[in-house]
């Protein structure tokens, strides 16, 4: 399923206008989603900038491999996830989290349906990052993907290589773990 893109819609009028118009349209439409994933997954704005650049350059080079059986967004997410996971593995500078760590929070009093109260939105990003850093890579990825309303559970399941039911179950636990960590960041 391909996404229709107006070739002439952004020619020369966008920051990516120097790219061929079709690809500039892809960048304009999806760069925010890819940058946000990279930012919160990697937890570093500069690394996220580099990663977003590398992901789109890779996509630009690999357009001949895009078969159109997934949406462009899903395809870009696939490249971004692989890229970010490779970076995390090679850096070795992130704390190692095990599922055992998550289980502590999954069994905590925090509920996924409880509202998250925030008094000050100024430093909200830092609190969110701390809470995301505290959960496992798998949970962090699921939370970030499900936050994108354009992705269906089936697409998320395909991206993470699991069934839809498995994703739903893990998301429930991921939300609970995130909420518990977030409450602790106050």
């Amino acid at each position: 399923m391909n996404e229709p893109v107006e070739r002439e819609s952004v020619t020369g009028k966008t920051p990516a206008g120097g790219l061929a118009s079709g690809f500039a349209a892809i960048y304009d439409e999806h760069s925010h989603a890819i940058f946000y994933l990279a930012l919160r997954y990697l937890g570093d704005p500069e690394k996220a900038q580099d990663a977003t650049h590398d992901v789109f350059l890779k996509a630009f080079r690999k357009l001949d491999q895009f078969r159109g059986d997934a949406s462009v967004r899903t395809w870009l997410y696939r490249i971004a996830i692989n890229h970010c996971q490779n970076l995390c593995q090679s850096w070795h500078n992130r704390n190692v989290h095990s599922n055992a760590d998550d289980s502590v929070w999954e069994n905590s009093a925090a509920k996924t349906d409880s509202p998250l109260r925030v008094l000050e939105t100024k430093e909200l990003g830092q609190r969110i990052q701390k809470a995301l850093d505290a959960v496992s890579d798998e949970y962090r990825l699921l939370l970030l993907l499900v936050a994108d309303e354009e992705l269906s559970y089936e697409e998320i399941a395909t991206l993470v290589g699991q069934t839809g039911d498995a994703v739903r179950g893990k998301l429930h636990r991921a939300r609970k773990a995130f909420a518990a960590h977030f409450e602790k960041t106050v």
């Binding site: 990003g125 939370l143 994108d148």
Partner: protein
């Protein structure tokens, strides 16, 4: 003297207003919170600029693919 007292009272009330606790913002779920966070996040324009320069090295043969894709 009376005027000075008035001023003092006024400045005190300003301080009080500033020190009043802000109303809490509530997010119904972590999804909602992350969507709010995403909406506050902007993509640095430097990325597109760098990408534009990097893409100039791509060979025309490969660049032709996306033309076919979107034609």
């Amino acid at each position: 003297m009376k005027q000075q007292t008035k001023l003092t009272q006024k400045s005190e009330s300003v301080v009080e207003q500033h020190s009043q606790p802000q109303a809490a913002t509530e997010f119904g779920s972590s999804d909602e919170l992350l969507r709010f966070d995403a909406a506050q996040t902007t993509v640095p324009p430097e990325i597109a600029e760098r990408l534009k320069h990097s893409a100039t090295d791509i060979t025309p043969a490969k660049a032709g693919w996306f033309k076919r894709l979107f034609n």
